[in-house]
């Protein structure tokens, strides 16, 4: 018997071809870039809002300070000028103008008389005596109180302002004092403030960026680590390593996903194992079936005095039936039928053992079927340690006389249809099935055949044959059929009975091996 290795087929060749693709822009980088952009955006917004509010406040404060300075200096100028005009003290006026023009942000100083003739001017003595007729001068002259030109709006500063005040002496206007202030320094200061804010913002951005990048790399690695673990796991599963387990501790969606994948791998593994087992079992059964079929005679036997016809059908996955028939010398015919309990390899081995012993000893046992059954029983009992059983019916017929001896080890009783009388003869003698007890003593039982007798040998498979209503074909139906067909030859009887059994079964599946043998004794 050629040894066939069970073929184990892993059906994951498709998943093996999964290529390891390089990640171009990983989650880590994407997350980092996103966080950096977010930081820049937030800091920029904060910086511009800060710049706006701070410069506005600064502008207002500076303007208010300038107005205060303007009022103080004009008050000082007008009172001093009043003294100088009244006492015609030109030196005092010049000194005062010179002093005030040294004040911060002052552009020019003009002192006029009540008709707008220049009495003193910060830009030089050559201006003295000139009559001022410009709009600014006329407005200043006409006003009886301190005014600022142009109109002062601290949120929209002009490049320069002029504050003017009437110079009064004993409630009479004796002239006009005017000081022009430049706002250039305010704008300069604001520029510096803005620059500082921008500088600070940039520093903040750089600082937070540094922190942010570190933080996002950390965050990203927390997130991408389990993702990488998942990818590694799937890759391992894909390449057939179903023992791999993804280890993710976090109890978030990724952890849940990992659990699911692990569960899937476990189930796939079990399924694969089952598939392999099935495959192995299938192969073993196929082998067992092959063994079984190769052990039994394929042709019917037609002798001068005896015809032997048979039907034999094995079922996939169910071991069991074995039969054999052979001439012993010139005068004898041996027939053996056995039903091994169980299926697959062990049953096949029992069968092989029976056959080997039968063919070794068949030549020397003309007078005792029991002797051979004894040998077989002891061997099976020893080899299979009392765990494998079989029924066995062994019969030897003396062809000339029709005398037969048989031994029945737990098999169905000897059943003979006597055509001449139209009756069945049953002999229920026998002992235990083989393999059960090592010390069972099997006996020879005798029977005398008459011309036309039919010996019926079968296994349970025939009588157990079921139709789709789960009814069994049964003993009665079988006997009745044989009786009806008894005038036909052995092979015809067999084929007719089997035809009826098949008809009875219909589409229902066959569960068991079927062996059906008719021995027709035609007389010596």
């Amino acid at each position: 018997m050629p040894e066939e290795q069970p073929k184990v087929i892993y059906k994951d060749s498709a998943s093996r071809s999964v290529q390891q693709e390089k990640i171009k822009f990983g989650l880590k980088i994407k997350l980092s870039v996103f966080v950096i952009l977010l930081i820049i955006l937030v800091v920029s917004i904060i910086a511009s809002v800060l710049t706006m509010t701070i410069t506005k406040r600064e502008e207002k404060q500076s303007a208010q300070q300038m107005v205060r300075n303007m009022n103080l200096s004009i008050e000082y100028l007008s009172s001093t000028a009043s003294d100088a005009i009244v006492s015609f003290d030109d030196l005092l006026l010049v000194n005062t103008i010179e002093k005030v023009s040294g004040f911060e942000d002052v552009e020019y100083i003009i002192v006029t008389d009540k008709k707008n003739y220049v009495l003193g001017h910060s830009k030089g003595v050559d201006q003295i005596g000139r009559k001022l007729t410009d709009k600014l001068s006329i407005t200043a002259l006409k006003s009886d109180k301190v005014i600022i030109q142009p109109e002062f709006k601290h949120n929209d500063l002009a490049p320069s302002y002029e504050i003017s005040s009437p110079i009064m002496f004993r409630d009479k206007k004796v002239g006009v004092a005017r000081i022009a202030y430049s706002t250039a320094s305010i704008f300069h200061n604001l520029l510096i403030v803005k620059r500082n804010i921008i500088l600070t913002s940039i520093l903040v951005i750089i600082g937070t960026l540094a922190l942010g990048v570190l933080g996002s790399i950390f965050l990203a690695s927390i997130t991408t680590k389990p993702v990488k673990a998942l990818v590694d796991g799937l890759r391992a599963f894909g390449s057939g390593d179903l023992n791999f387990r993804i280890k993710i501790r976090s109890r978030d969606e990724l952890g849940y996903l990992a659990d699911e994948f692990n569960k899937m791998a476990k189930e796939m593994k079990e399924y694969q194992k089952l598939q392999v087992e099935r495959e192995v079992e299938k192969n073993l059964f196929a082998m067992a079936k092959k063994i079984q079929s190769s052990l039994v005679p394929q042709e019917d036997l037609v002798l001068k005095s005896i015809n032997v016809a048979k039907y034999f059908r094995t079922v996939f996955g169910v071991g069991g039936d074995y039969y054999d028939y052979f001439e012993i010398g010139k005068d004898h015919l041996g027939v053996l039928v056995s039903d091994v309990f169980g299926k697959g390899m062990p049953a096949s081995l029992v069968m092989v053992t029976i056959r080997a012993l039968l063919h070794t000893y068949k030549g020397g046992i003309l007078n005792s079927t029991a002797e051979l059954v004894d040998i077989i029983n002891k061997r099976i009992w020893m080899d299979f340690k009392g765990e494998q059983y079989a029924t066995l019916f062994f019969i030897i017929i003396e062809r000339k006389t029709g005398k037969l001896i048989f031994t029945n080890a737990g098999h169905l009783p000897l059943l003979v249809y006597r055509k001449s009388a139209g009756t069945y003869m049953i002999k229920e003698n026998g002992e235990l099935p083989i393999g059960m007890m090592g010390d069972t003593v099997y006996k020879n039982y005798a029977f005398k055949l008459e011309k036309g007798d039919l010996i019926i040998l079968n296994t349970d498979g025939i009588t157990e044959a079921e139709n789709d209503k789960q009814e069994q074909f049964g003993d009665k139906r079988l006997k009745e059929l044989i009786k009806q067909n008894s005038t036909s030859s052995a092979d015809k009887i067999v084929s007719n009975v089997i035809k009826q059994v098949r008809k009875f079964m219909g589409d229902a599946a066959q569960h068991d091996d079927m062996t059906f043998i008719i021995i027709e004794y035609k007389g010596g």
Binding site: D339, G342, G410
Partner: protein, 114 residues
């Protein structure tokens, strides 16, 4: 519990278990039948109720023989009751009737547990 055409009901008793069988014990059930009951009879006294078993093949008798053997090896009792004539007949034909502890009724079998 259902094995190929045979349903099994388990009744726990003080000193053993009754298995009520319902259906047929055919040839193809042999391995499953043996596998199922073997591990049970190793641990406890076992009574099989055959009242609703209509048919048993000779291999079924073989399975009972094996269970009886396992029970003896483990000092447990393996008993049968309620055998109908055809089941009784097949056990007789396989010449094993005397080997088993067979009782007519459930009460008789249960009595043996104590």
């Amino acid at each position: 519990m259902e094995l190929k055409g045979l349903s099994i009901e388990v009744v726990e008793k003080d000193n053993g278990v009754i298995f009520r069988l319902n259906g047929d014990i055919k040839t193809d059930i042999y391995s499953d039948f043996l596998g199922f009951f073997k591990q049970k009879v190793e641990k406890a006294n076992m009574i099989m109720d055959f009242t609703h078993v209509n048919y048993m093949s000779s291999s079924g008798v073989g399975a009972l023989f094996n269970l009886d053997k396992v029970a003896r090896e483990n000092n447990k009792k393996f008993m049968l009751f309620g055998l109908n004539p055809s089941v009784k007949k097949i056990i007789e034909l396989t010449k094993l009737y005397d080997k088993f502890l067979i009782y007519q009724t459930e009460d008789e079998a249960v009595k043996q547990l104590n």
